[in-house]
């Protein structure tokens, strides 16, 4: 069966240790996490964990069934990628001086990245978007000297009405 990337939303009780329970289960069952974000939702006692995992259909089915059994997990579902909004935030620090600041700025403009810091020898750019956009931006910046990169991992919501219950 073919391996594919899946984005999974896990709605959990906003309790200490919940993230550990989820990731411990994943570790134990051998599900590899490509990316993970977590934050509280509009409902203060509920947090949302957004996971990106790679696996086949059976693994995904098992993963959802196993995770559902955790007492503090209210709901878990894979997002339909055709009807979902997926975003990631990137911060990148590039070595820059008076010779190349201009060209870096014009690249940033093309990608609609923001310049959020400018120092004597470097600048920091911020970009939000889908993963491939961020990948593309980093590829182009590869022409310059990238000093530091930090990506948040993706976060995602489905379009339209809320069709799950917690």
């Amino acid at each position: 069966m073919s391996m594919q990337k899946k984005v999974v939303s896990v709605l959990v009780d906003n309790h200490p240790g919940v993230l550990t329970r989820v990731t411990s289960l994943f570790g134990r069952r051998g599900y590899n996490i490509d990316s993970l974000t977590v934050s509280v939702t509009n409902i203060p006692d509920i947090s949302r964990i957004t996971l990106v995992i790679t696996g086949d259909e059976h693994m995904l089915e098992q993963m959802i069934a196993q995770t559902s059994k955790l007492v503090e997990v209210r709901n878990i579902f894979a997002l339909n990628m055709d009807a979902s909004l997926v975003r990631e935030l990137l911060l990148v620090k590039v070595a820059a001086d008076e010779t190349n600041r201009g060209s870096i700025t014009s690249i940033a403009n093309v990608f609609k990245a923001k310049i959020i810091d400018l120092s004597v020898g470097s600048m920091v750019l911020e970009l939000t978007g889908e993963q491939n956009k961020l990948d593309g931006f980093l590829t182009v910046l590869g022409e310059y000297e990238v000093l530091e990169v930090c990506r948040t991992g993706i976060t995602a919501l489905s379009r339209g009405p809320v069709n799950y219950h917690i």
Binding site: G17, H58, A65, S68, V71
Partner: protein, 554 residues
Amino acid sequence: MNLTGAEILTEVLIEQGVDTIFGYPGGAVLNIYDTLYDYQDRITHILTAHEQGASHAADGYARVTGKTGVVLATSGPGATNLVTGIATAYMDSIPMVAITGNVSTSLLGRDSFQEIYITGITMPITKHNFLVRDVKELADTIREAFRIANTGRKGPVLIDIPKDITAAKCEFIRKECINVQKHTEIDLDKIEKAAEIINAAQRPVVYFGGGVSLGEASEELKAFLNKAGIPAVHTMMGAGVLCHDDMHNLGLIGMHGKSSTNNVIGDADVVVAIGARFSDRVALNPKYFAQKATIIQIDIDQSEINKNVYVDYSIVGDVKQVLNGILPYIEENQHLEWMKKIHVWQDRDYQPTDSDSTLKPHQIIRILCETTEKDTVYVTDVGQHQMWAAQYLEHVAPRSFLTSGGLGTMGFGYGAAIGAKLAVGNSRRVIHITGDGSFHMNLNEACTAKSYELPIITIIMNNSVLGMVRQWQTAFYKKKYSHTDPQRQTDFIKVAEGFGVKGYRTTNPKEFTEALKEALTQKGPVWIECLMEKDEKVLPMIPAGGTIDDMIMD
């Protein structure tokens, strides 16, 4: 009422119908033990030799009754000593509530004396666990723990209570314990579809496991098998669900199952898996398991569907409910041709040979069955003796063969037997079957059996080696007996005497029968040592990952 945390704990235990708990005191649970002293007319606390023994006792108590077993231990080593017992219960889906003390909240996270992060340690071996940081949450947390432990797929739950919480006071209101067994919605279309496949089958077989026992569905299973005229094979955890002489009961399947039962699964056109999880000791090679069959799986746990073996149809729900639901759609049948084929396989099943001069495992078990009451509760440790017990005992009823199936915990037996005996009281006999390897692990619980004068008969199958591992070394490691022949000099009769226990040493069937008859009249615990050949094997055997074609018969 304004009560301390310790009093609230005790009150909620009573509220939940708990009258017996197993445990061991210590610094962090002093307040709880102080309260237990005052409540001793309502809660019996059984003091074991070791917290592990207490955890197995709570487990044995739960296995024989179906009620939630309760174990109590102090922080640090007290808590870590529960780990094997909790994991044992988890692997076999046994309802248990483990209560641990911890250091006071102000000392948590500071590597204080006897502090351990037990909720972290037990995360993967509990259904859920709690750390109570506020006495106001204590009562509902305990209630929730009992609910989780004994609903859905059952299992252990741990509650960690810091010492200051057991001393803090708050208002407590008694609540009635409501049995909230969730009634699952079962899809009628799925029931009809499954029935259709079962009705059309030419060579059907039911493969059932411990889930039928846990779901209290043995009567429903019998009704289903009788109407459908379908034979059934069972896992070790399913032993006793059907009586050994039930015409539909073909017996044990898997690594040490019969060749006939394994043939049946291999040849069947429809396999109905009920409360069984296709473990690697049954579906030794998942690729070839029931490869000719359409597989229908009935289980309470969604995550068991397609976990090890991919099935064609599944019904997720309470097994009792599902079997009741499907029965009206099942057509009466007898499958005579299929049964005829099965009888031919059964004629070729492995048959052990008797001996008058030495003790053969099957003879020991046969003598036990002939000499003791039919409703005896048998408890085993883990190893060859366990498999012989599973194979040769005349299982009569569910919840009467207590054994560590999933985790395979050597040292499980004595504690579990103590828990079982305290649960059944004088109404039923409890016999603990062990090997010299397993018994060396936790025989310290003899002091518990003696303190409470529990008439548990322990049968020690002493072949002087770690027989199961040695058997694998014989078959797969060119007889290189690495550390399985420990040359121990233990004199079990003297050890028994040291504990104040009566011990018998037997070397042949006649001596064993006589010793057993005498043991049956004793008031307290008794050990009967059976000296056996070290080369005795558990047969037949399918090697791990193998198929029926790889079966070893001698």
